[in-house]
């Protein structure tokens, strides 16, 4: 396994940059994709945001100070890019972010890259009802099984607050699924 420090150093060096970037993309593309897809829901949008995320990483690698892990830094960029994407799209359509996300969920059934059954669709609807932070924490913890410490570094929130958010989110989602 490549040591993160070496990879960062290679990314900042002209001669080794291209190869190191290729390694970086291979290492993180899937994890970042699922993080983004969990927010934007649609595959094409997730693909756009993932590419923009890596381009941003490439352009800003010199500014990476190493205060946090490279993985957390990239996750943060991916999350911000995905949230900005949602906000931008909602603004373009003149609707609120919440309304836009509800629209995304209602379009899921027609999405060729969604093969979920009724309960999975309902789960997505339930997640949409959560406040933004709870939604992010739920996605990262429940689906991606990240550790609280990792989420804490990505979202810059205390572990205690994250635990509270997660348990609250789980209760709300369960409550939603039990109704009807």
């Amino acid at each position: 396994m490549i040591v993160e420090e070496t990879l960062v150093q290679d990314l900042k060096t002209k001669n080794t940059q291209a190869q190191a970037f290729n390694v970086l993309v291979s290492m993180y593309k899937e994890r970042l994709y699922w993080q983004i897809r969990g927010i934007v829901l649609n595959h094409d949008d997730a693909d756009d945001v993932l590419q923009n995320t890596f381009i941003k990483v490439y352009k800003n690698i010199d500014g990476f100070k190493g205060d946090s892990q490279l993985f957390s830094w990239m996750y943060r960029i991916a999350t911000n890019e995905a949230l900005s994407f949602i906000k931008h799209r909602a603004k373009m359509q003149g609707i609120t972010d919440e309304d836009y996300q509800e629209k995304l969920v209602s379009n899921l059934q027609a999405d060729v890259y969604f093969e979920g059954d009724e309960i999975q669709l309902k789960l997505q609807q339930a997640i949409t009802t959560l406040p933004e932070r709870q939604k992010l924490v739920f996605n990262m913890k429940y689906f991606q099984e990240l550790k609280y410490e990792e989420i804490s570094e990505i979202l810059d929130t205390s572990v205690g607050s994250l635990k509270a958010s997660y348990h609250l989110a789980v209760k709300k989602v369960e409550q939603y699924l039990k109704t009807d």
Binding site: V25, Q120, Y142
Partner: protein
């Protein structure tokens, strides 16, 4: 806490520290109706072809920017030329020197109308030589007596201030 030295068993590092979290997470979703999968899929070979697609996009994004871009130079030269034409063209056939007499009265009036000078009447009086000057010298049209009377009746509160008797 006292360590049990007779116990030959060990636990993984940090086991007890993370036990509570693991238990809470398990309790949260125990007997849950929540599915673990989301139902999302990706196109075939999407991740295999992603690196190449990204590399192509990155090449386009970070295309080398020429040190002296032709378009920018043309725009710069054109803007300099435009400024020069406006500047010289404005005074091209103008043999008349700039003076106060070259200004239209309406321009002067508009200037005084639209700018605040905060000048008191004493300050104005210091500048204007009133010894041989009549109001009619400064005005294009003479003021009718009726207009003066109207003005005075509208704007004078105390007629004593006018000191009319001394000047009769």
């Amino acid at each position: 806490m006292k360590k049990n030295t007779k116990n030959p068993f060990k636990t993984p590092q940090g086991y007890f520290n993370s036990f509570e979290d693991k238990l809470m997470d398990k309790l949260s979703t125990e007997g849950s109706v929540m599915p673990k999968a989301r139902g999302f899929t990706v196109p075939e070979n999407y991740f295999d072809t992603f690196n190449d697609k990204l590399t192509n996009k990155l090449i386009k994004e970070t295309k080398v920017i020429p040190l002296y871009p032709v378009k920018k130079i043309i725009a710069f030269v054109a803007s300099i030329a435009a400024i020069a034409i406006i500047f010289f063209g404005y005074n091209w056939n103008s043999t008349e020197k700039l003076s106060i007499s070259a200004l239209a009265n309406t321009d002067i009036e508009a200037y005084f109308e639209n700018n605040e000078f905060d000048l008191t009447s004493y300050e104005i009086a210091e500048v204007l030589p009133f010894t041989d000057t009549e109001f009619s010298n400064m005005l294009n049209s003479s003021i009718e007596n009726d207009n003066i009377l109207d003005y005075l009746s509208d704007n004078t509160i105390d007629f004593e201030e006018l000191n009319l008797q001394d000047n009769e």
